[in-house]
Amino acid sequence: MHYIVAIIQPDRLDEVMQKLEEKEIHLITVSNVLGRGRQKGISEIYRSHKEAGSLLKKVKIEVAVNSEYLKQTIEAITEGARTGKIGDGKIFVLDLKDAIRIRTGEKGKPAIG
């Protein structure tokens, strides 16, 4: 089992979620993050001083999947999030030791989906 963390451009979220749907990955968790990466931020102005706004708004997606789904999940996210421009983001794959569905207490693979 794997725990996938992806950082994408905020406006690509809808696209990514749709792609995931298509590949039958329905369960995800989303949150706001700020990112500093290759992408040069637009510096803000305050009293005519430029604030190097190095932190840009990004969206973080977390998906826990069974190993057999790993590949297509990465594909789905990549397809949905890619614009080819700097700032598209990253996908990180972590090892997932166990998963528990709180409602039922199911453990492991069955708990993921």
Partner: protein, 457 residues
């Protein structure tokens, strides 16, 4: 398809217009019935300042000015957060830009000595000759400059209303230029026709108490046209999500309702019975319209929505604007119910059929609501409320409705055509729309290098 629609619309209208212009006889016949809010008090002879009237118009002017920040939040709460400031900025810019334009040229063009019924001349440039004594032509009991500044507030909010149509995608520089041109070439003339001494619509006896034609139809049509010219927002309608901050839109609506008492009540230009009638009609229509919209939402969506209620209330305020000084409480109730039904159908059903992207329904509410209100005035108006007014259809005078219809169509055509021309000119020169990349990042950052709030605590 949309354009063909627009064309057809114009064609039809133009014919009407021509007709109404080539038949001065009927017009002149109605001269004496001619009346608008701005002449309600002109019977007075000795132009002596009345402190009570002055106090009421002073505060009314302040209230109308306050409506523009209100509008800023009403609109701003509904866009996506990344474009929040851009809407606020457009609203404040219109406050600054048009105020200056108004004292320099706008007022003279709108209310200055008449030139053939079409426009005011330039003799009042820079408020030359516009002093602190009353000008009986417009208001015999308050200083002329007070009338001028009160009207300035109307000139400010009118282009402000259009913002709702092109929110989230217009280049700020283009916005400034467009607004300046529009105030000068669309607002000023239409204002003169309806309210200026010698204005030809005023001569024909069209009733517009506080700006249904001049303000709402005018802005509403301009909204529709600019929405067409600019095209849809990227991702519309699928991935444009609901209001980023509905409570602030509610705050804006509250301020608008509050300010509208100055907008309509103040249009009596005095603290008199007409002002009171307008005040009451305004409040009742707003309440009734808000209630109606809630009921419609309840019926069609099983749930009354906050956005629906404030939209309804604003629609009611829009529709009662031309009628406020001419209808009784029943008329106000009637206008309130009907306008919500009409606008609801428009924004909930028709709009999607037509498929243009009027971001915040400036046309759906102000355009349609304004047209409805102008016609409803022709139906519900009664001299029993305001002798200086006229009787409408319900009171046995169908001709008024006809006059109102003409006024509406003329305004619609003129506003549509000239707005289109101006928009195209600005587009050809500066470009109206931001780049796709800028639109994606949002206008706050790309146009103003600011963001509505810090994300980290």
């Amino acid at each position: 398809m949309q354009h063909s629609l627009l064309k057809a619309f114009c064609l039809l209208a133009v014919s009407f217009t021509i007709h109404s212009l080539v038949t001065p006889n009927c017009s002149f016949a109605e001269d004496e019935t001619s009346i608008t809010a701005t002449s309600v008090n002109t019977e007075a002879i000795a132009p002596k300042i009345d402190t009570g009237d002055t106090a009421w118009v002073l505060i009314s002017a302040a209230l109308v000015l306050f409506m523009t920040p209100g509008l800023a939040f009403f609109y701003g709460g509904l866009v996506r957060k990344k474009n929040f400031l851009s809407v606020l900025m457009q609203c404040f810019m219109v406050m600054c830009l048009v105020s200056v334009q108004w004292v320099l040229v706008g007022y003279s063009l709108s209310f200055g000595p008449d030139v053939g019924g079409w426009i005011g001349n330039l003799s009042w440039l820079g408020l030359n000759g516009v002093g602190l004594t009353p000008n009986p032509d417009y208001s015999a009991t308050i200083p002329h400059q007070l009338f001028m500044i009160y009207q300035a507030m109307f000139a400010i909010i009118t282009p402000g209303l259009i913002i709702g149509a092109f929110a989230e995608r217009m280049k700020f520089s283009a916005y400034c230029v467009f607004t300046l041109l529009w105030s000068t070439f669309v607002y000023a003339p239409v204002c003169h026709w309806v309210w200026g001494v010698g204005g030809f619509l005023r001569m024909q006896g069209a009733l517009d108490f506080a700006g249904g034609t001049v303000v709402h139809i005018n802005a509403g049509i301009a909204a529709l046209v600019t929405a067409f010219v600019l095209g849809k927002r990227k991702g519309y309608p699928d991935t444009i999500h609901p209001a980023h901050n509905l409570p602030l839109a509610v705050l804006g609506a509250g301020i608008l309702w509050f300010g509208w008492f100055g907008f309509n009540g103040g249009s009596a230009l005095g603290a008199n019975g007409v002002a009171v009638n307008a005040f009451v009609a305004t409040h009742v229509a707003a309440a009734m319209a808000g209630l109606t919209w809630a009921v419609l939402d309840w019926y069609f969506n099983e749930h009354p929505t906050m956005l629906g209620m404030i939209t309804g209330a604003v629609a009611g305020l829009v529709a009662i604007t031309p009628a406020a000084g001419f209808v009784n409480v029943w008329g106000a109730l009637g206008i309130g119910v009907s306008v919500s039904i009409v606008c609801y159908i428009m924004v909930a059903f028709v709009k999607n059929k037509l498929g243009y992207d009027d971001s915040l329904d400036a046309f759906g509410v102000h355009g349609i609501g304004g047209i409805w209100g102008a016609l409803a005035t022709g139906v519900f108006a009664t001299k029993s409320v305001n002798a200086a007014g006229a009787d409408g259809l319900l009171y046995g005078n169908p001709s008024l409705l006809w006059i109102q219809l003409k006024a509406v169509l003329i305004t619609v055509v003129y506003s549509a055509v000239v707005t289109l021309v101006l928009a195209k000119i600005v587009d050809a020169t500066l470009g109206l729309r931001v780049s796709e990349h800028e639109e994606r990042i949002g206008l706050d950052l790309t146009q103003h290098r600011e963001s509505a709030g810090t994300l980290l605590e």
